[in-house]
C-alpha cells in the first residue's frame, strides 16, 4: 500500500490492508527503514494483534551503503531497491506447498542481511502538480548526487564537476564491495554462493540509458560475456573487473522515485534457493516477463531447431545449430 508522495501510509491504511488482504497463516510486512514507516507499521501490527489476534511479523530492510555506520548511527541505513528482491523471493517462496510462516520470516531476514544498494542521480525529482523551480529542475548539469535515496532527499555526497559514468560506477562499486572500509563493508560478495545484480531506474532514465548502465556495471563487476560495442557510445570500458561472478542480472524500473534522473545498483549475496525464487515466473507489473535466467553464464546446453518449429528436439543435446531442411 502507498501513502502520500514520499510519506508513510497511516496506521488505518496499514491495518485495513492487514485485515482485508492478509492470509490465514499470517501477514509479513516488508518495510524499508524510515522512521515514519517503522513506527506506523509497528503500531498497525500491534493493533492487528491486539484487536484481532492476527499473526503479523515485520521485516525491515536497510540496504543502503552510502551513509556509513558512523553517520547513520542508531537510526540505521535507509531501505532502497534491494527490498524488491526480498518481495520477489518471499512471494515465490510462499507458493511452495507446505512452507511455514516462520520459515518465510527466517528467509526474509536472511535475504535482508545479504543486500547492499547505492544510488546516484543527476538531480532531484519533480513532484506532479508543483511548479517547476530551480530547486526541482530535474537535471543539474554541473553535479551528480552520490548516495541518492528514493524520497527526493539530496545525495549523501555531491560530486562536482560530475564524473564520467565509468568512474561514478567505480565509486559506487567501491562502496558496495570494499571490505576494507570500516564504516561500510556490510556484506562480503566474494564468499557468496550466488550473486544477483539489480540495476534500478529511479524513474527518469530512458531504456537505452539504463541498458548502457547495466552493461557497464556488469562488465565492471566481472561479467565476461556482455557484448562490447566497439564504439562504446562514449563510455570508457572499465580496465579491470572486480571478479564478482554474477548469477543473475536484473535491469528495469523496480523502485522508482517519480522521475528521478538516476539509478541504483543492488547486489544480493544469495543462495541457490534464493535464485530459484527470483527465476520463478511472476506477473507483477514492473517485473521482467522474460526469465532472467536468459542472463545466465553461457550454458553448455544447446538447441536443435528442426524445420524451424521442431518442439520435440529443442532440448536435445548438441551445439546450437539450425538444421537446414528445405521447405518443399
Amino acid at each position: 500500500m502507498s501513502g502520500s508522495i514520499f510519506a508513510s501510509p497511516n496506521v488505518s491504511q496499514i491495518l485495513n490492508t492487514i485485515y482485508r488482504v492478509g492470509g490465514e497463516a499470517g501477514t509479513i510486512l516488508i518495510i524499508k527503514n524510515y522512521t515514519g514507516d517503522v513506527f506506523h507499521f509497528h503500531l498497525a501490527a500491534e493493533k492487528a494483534r491486539a484487536m484481532y489476534g492476527l499473526k503479523v511479523e515485520i521485516i525491515i530492510v536497510g540496504d543502503d551503503v552510502s551513509v556509513g555506520r558512523r553517520k547513520s548511527g542508531k537510526v540505521g541505513r535507509r531501505g532502497l531497491a534491494g527490498t524488491v528482491l526480498l518481495h520477489k523471493i518471499l512471494g515465490a517462496m510462499s507458493k511452495v506447498p507446505g512452507v511455514s510462516f516462520d520459515t518465510l520470516v527466517e528467509m526474509g531476514r536472511l535475504v535482508a542481511s545479504g543486500l547492499v544498494t547505492v544510488g546516484a542521480s543527476l538531480g532531484r525529482v519533480h513532484i506532479p502538480g508543483r511548479a517547476i523551480s530551480d530547486e526541482n529542475t530535474p537535471v543539474k548539469l554541473n553535479q551528480v548526487d552520490l548516495g541518492m535515496g528514493i524520497h527526493n532527499e539530496s545525495g549523501s555526497r555531491i560530486l562536482s564537476p560530475p564524473p564520467e559514468l565509468t568512474s561514478l560506477v567505480d565509486m559506487m562499486l567501491d562502496q558496495l564491495l570494499s571490505m576494507d572500509d570500516p564504516d561500510r563493508s556490510f556484506v562480503n560478495m566474494h564468499d557468496a554462493e550466488e550473486v544477483v545484480l539489480l540495476v534500478n531506474n529511479l524513474g527518469g532514465l530512458s531504456i537505452l540509458e539504463l541498458g548502457g548502465i547495466t552493461r557497464l556495471v556488469s562488465i565492471a563487476l566481472g561479467k565476461s560475456d556482455v557484448p562490447i560495442c566497439p564504439e562504446g557510445y562514449g563510455l570508457t570500458i572499465p580496465a579491470e573487473s572486480r571478479n564478482v561472478k554474477l548469477s543473475r542480472v536484473l535491469s528495469g524500473t523496480f523502485m522508482s522515485s517519480l522521475d528521478g534522473p538516476g539509478f541504483s545498483i543492488t547486489l544480493l549475496n544469495a543462495t541457490g534457493e534464493m535464485v530459484e525464487y527470483i527465476d520463478a515466473p511472476a506477473k507483477a507489473v514492473g517485473w521482467p516477463l522474460g526469465p532472467c535466467s536468459s542472463w545466465r553464464e553461457k550454458s553448455s546446453r544447446t538447441i536443435h531447431v528442426v524445420n524451424g518449429t521442431g518442439k520435440d528436439d529443442r532440448l536435445a543435446q548438441g551445439g546450437i545449430q539450425r538444421e537446414q531442411h528445405p521447405i518443399p
Binding site: S12, T35, F39, H42, R49, A50, M51
Partner: protein, 221 residues
C-alpha cells in the same frame, strides 16, 4: 463496506480481570500528575526539543481521564487496555504518540494471550505483560536506556518490576533513570539538533512524563 477501524466497535474479549475501581483510581492519579507536570515538561522540551512534549502528554492524559470516568469500561483487562490504546492513538501525535500507542497496543495483545480467568491480575503477571510490551516497543525503535529518551524511565522500571523488586523500588529506579538523563547526549529526536549545552540543563522531558504516569500507577508507598 464499513470501516473496521471505528473505535466504536465493542470487542468481546474475555481475558484476565482487573479490579476496576482500583484501576480507575490509579490510572486517574497518573493522568492528574501528568497534567500537573505539563508546564514543567513543556519548559524542559522548549530547551531541548520543539516544546510540544508536555502538551501532547497532557492532551493524552485528559482524553484517558474522560474515558476512565465513562461507564464503558469493563473489568476485562484486554478490553479496557484496548480502549485506552485507541484513545491514546486518537489524542496524541508525534513520536511520543506513536511510542505510547505501540506500547499500549502491545500491552493489550500480551494481555490477550493470557488465559481467561476471573482472577485479578497479580503483579508478577503485570511484570510479564509489561516486559512483553517493552520488547515489542524495542522492535519499533532502537532507542535504549542511555539515549536520552523515555526509555530512560520505562526500561529500568519494567525490568526492576518484572524481577519482582516491588513497585516502589521499581519506581525509584525509573526516577534515577530520569535524573541520569541530565547531561546525557541525545541520540534520537529533536534533541539531537540543539546545542549540546542544553542537555546539561534539564532531564529528558519524555522520560519525565513516564515517571509521572508511573508515580500515579504505583500509588503511595
Amino acid at each position: 463496506m464499513s470501516s473496521i477501524l471505528s473505535h466504536d466497535i465493542i470487542l468481546k474479549l474475555t481475558t484476565a480481570t482487573v479490579d476496576l475501581p482500583e484501576f480507575r483510581s490509579r490510572a486517574t492519579r497518573a493522568c492528574e500528575l501528568l497534567i500537573a507536570a505539563e508546564p514543567r515538561i513543556t519548559r524542559a522540551d522548549t530547551i531541548v526539543g520543539d516544546g510540544d512534549c508536555g502538551i501532547t502528554l497532557a492532551r493524552g492524559a485528559n482524553a484517558v481521564m474522560s474515558l476512565l470516568t465513562s461507564t464503558e469500561l469493563s473489568p476485562d483487562a484486554a478490553s479496557t487496555l484496548l480502549r485506552i490504546s485507541a484513545v491514546i492513538e486518537d489524542s496524541m501525535d508525534g513520536t511520543s504518540g506513536a511510542l505510547y500507542s505501540i506500547f499500549f497496543n502491545a500491552l493489550t495483545s500480551a494481555l490477550r494471550s493470557l488465559p481467561s480467568t476471573s482472577q485479578i491480575i497479580d503483579s508478577s503477571t503485570w511484570g510479564l505483560v509489561a516486559s512483553e510490551a517493552l520488547a515489542k516497543l524495542q522492535l519499533a525503535t532502537t532507542a535504549r536506556q542511555g539515549d536520552r529518551t523515555l526509555m530512560d524511565a520505562l526500561e529500568p522500571f519494567i525490568s526492576s518490576f518484572a524481577r519482582g523488586d516491588g513497585a516502589q523500588t521499581a519506581f525509584t529506579r525509573a526516577k534515577s533513570g530520569v535524573d541520569a538523563t541530565k547531561g546525557m547526549q541525545a541520540a534520537f529526536g529533536r534533541a539531537v539538533y540543539v546545542e549540546e549545552k542544553a542537555w546539561q540543563v534539564v532531564p529528558d522531558p519524555g522520560a519525565e512524563g513516564v515517571v509521572c504516569i508511573l508515580e500515579g500507577l504505583v500509588g503511595k508507598s
